[in-house]
């Protein structure tokens, strides 16, 4: 096996992904992805829409099983776990959905209390303290009685973050944490990811196509495209990379190795045909 390029010692790796392949029906999504995510780091996975980033998170979280390859989280092979063991592992990791996925029938307080109520038997007064501390971390202690429908996009994402850290996981996976947020909210989320990583030692995986924000907060970055890793390194290294594919993504060029056109037959032939489609 290749030594991971980011120079991590073996037991330093929390999530170890080796040559993972995955297809939906006949359409390959991941064509051999290898990654080593270091314990206590913020690792960015960047790439265009539909390049398999979210699929990768679902594979790490065990909602999907790879067609081939290995996925180890904290030394445990995720695809081989039984439902019970998978649920045990999931208590130690959190996934922050792009939409937040807050429970719309529960108040903010109850949303954050939900995983604590489900998995522990804390008495109500202590539970209240824990929930308020989590809400304070994301700056929403005063909004505890609001319903999710009353929150702005940025607040909903912060609330979901408070819920994700409720059980103090060893790892949080962020699925597009910056998408659809205003610059201030983006900054707040970025700062929170960094702070949680530093103060609680939470390993973070940030999946995003927001180059600027993501490079700002990450220790190591992978760039994905077409189901493969196109480049990796520290954000600075990736930004200096000469690879055409990396350049196109980092500089946001409309045409390049990733073509502007969806594959189609020749334009002229298409226009001059008689039939309707």
């Amino acid at each position: 096996m290749n030594q991971p390029r980011n120079g991590a010692a073996k037991d330093d790796v929390l999530v170890d992904i080796r040559d993972v392949q995955f297809a939906r029906g006949d359409r390959p999504i991941l064509k051999g992805v290898t990654m080593a995510i270091r314990r206590g780091s913020v690792t960015a996975i960047m790439g265009g829409s539909g390049c398999g980033k979210t699929t990768l998170l679902n594979l790490i979280g065990g909602s999907l099983k790879p067609d081939s390859g290995a996925i180890l989280v904290d030394g445990i092979s995720v695809p081989d776990l039984s439902t019970n063991d998978l649920f045990e592992l999931r208590k130690r990791m959190a996934l922050l959905f792009q939409t937040g996925a807050l429970f719309t029938d529960l108040s903010l307080f109850e949303n954050v209390a939900f995983p604590i109520r489900e998995h522990t038997r804390l008495p109500e007064p202590i539970l209240r303290k824990v929930v308020l501390m989590k809400l304070e971390t994301v700056g929403l202690r005063g909004a505890r009685d609001l319903m999710p429908s009353e929150l702005s996009g940025g607040m909903a994402r912060r609330a979901a973050l408070a819920r994700a850290i409720a059980l103090e996981p060893m790892m949080i996976m962020y699925d597009e944490p910056f998408t659809g947020l205003d610059p201030i909210s983006k900054g707040v989320i970025g700062k929170l990811i960094r702070e949680l990583n530093q103060s609680l030692g939470i390993t973070s995986i940030v999946v995003s196509h927001d180059v600027a924000e993501t490079c700002l907060i990450s220790d190591y970055a992978y760039l994905m495209g077409d189901g493969r890793i196109m480049g990796e390194g520290t954000p600075a290294e990736v930004q200096r990379s000469g690879s055409e594919h990396v350049r196109q993504f980092m500089d946001g060029l409309p045409d390049g190795p990733v073509p502007y056109q969806y594959p189609a037959e020749a334009y002229l032939e298409d226009l001059t045909r008689w039939n309707k489609h």
């Binding site: 979280g61 909602s63 649920f87 045990e88 999931r90 208590k91 959190a94 996934l95 959905f97 939409t99 996925a101 807050l102 429970f103 719309t104 939900f114 995983p115 489900e118 998995h119 819920r163």
Partner: protein, 263 residues
């Protein structure tokens, strides 16, 4: 020729899809029943849902029951008076309600009010990733979301049907005794005489329990199995009402023939 083959293939596909769905629904039911054991300790989850599917459905059930009873009173009186048997009005109203109209109309209203709401709620929770989020928090949505709603439907339906029949009898009394001048004593005593506890009331309760089971099963399954888009949820809600109503009416015939033992 090709067209004929194609339509044959389509027919086969539809049939296979239907069988597949039936199989998924059966497995789903098995999981829900298994999950229900966990809820003995967490009965407050069920009680919350009994409120949502039962208490919130109460108003429509009571109003409908009252009017159905009043119509029965009018129609029954008009027929009975021809034979000079208007004293039996109480019996006619009570038997029609307890044996048939109570369970059946309640189940149809239940499917329309509570069943569609269950499907839409669960379908939307799926579409907005709330169910997936729950699974990522190591919480089984079948235990936390589906099973409490299923049990609540089982509990609520017989109670709603009983209330429907009770208020229907009062409606019949209101019209028969209050407006048309049937003797109140005869109204009640004929009813007391003619309605058998086992043959009529217990059988009615069995019917409403079976309808409650089938309506809630369809509602939670359609929600859980919905395509997670707004169109998918709309279709699933639609299917809940159609399938529930058809199942209720078909099962009513089967149950009635079994109970009367005449076929």
């Amino acid at each position: 020729m090709e067209q004929a083959l194609n339509s044959l293939a389509n027919l086969g596909r539809i049939f296979l899809d239907a069988i597949g769905r039936l199989g998924r629904a059966a497995l789903f039911l098995f999981e829900v029943v298994r999950a229900a054991r966990v809820l003995v300790r967490r009965h407050f989850l069920v009680i919350q849902q009994v409120y949502a599917v039962g208490v919130l459905t109460l108003l429509i059930i009571l109003v409908s029951g009252l009017f159905v009873g009043m119509v029965l009173g009018l129609q029954g009186y008009n027929t009975l008076v021809r034979f000079g048997a208007e004293e039996s009005l109480g019996l006619v109203v009570a038997l029609s309600l307890v044996r048939e109209l109570g369970p059946v109309v309640t189940a149809l209203l239940f499917a329309g009010r509570a069943g569609s709401a269950l499907t839409a709620e669960i379908g939307l929770m799926k579409a907005t990733e709330q169910l997936a989020g729950m699974e990522m928090m190591a919480v089984n949505p079948i235990v936390r979301v589906i099973a409490p709603r299923f049990l609540a439907g089982l509990v609520a339906m017989p109670l709603l049907a009983a209330l429907f029949s009770a208020i229907g009898v009062l409606g019949g009394h209101l019209v028969g005794v209050g407006l048309l001048g049937v003797d109140a004593g005869a109204f009640w005593s004929q009813m007391q005489d003619g309605v058998d506890f086992n043959d009529d009331i217990v059988n009615g309760v069995i019917k409403s329990a079976v309808f409650g089971f089938i309506c809630t099963w369809i509602a939670v399954f359609e929600g859980y199995d919905a395509v997670p888009t707004s169109e998918g949820v709309a279709r699933a809600t639609n299917r809940t009402v159609v399938y529930s109503s058809l199942s209720v009416l078909t099962l009513d015939f089967i149950l009635t023939s079994l109970m009367l033992g005449e076929i």
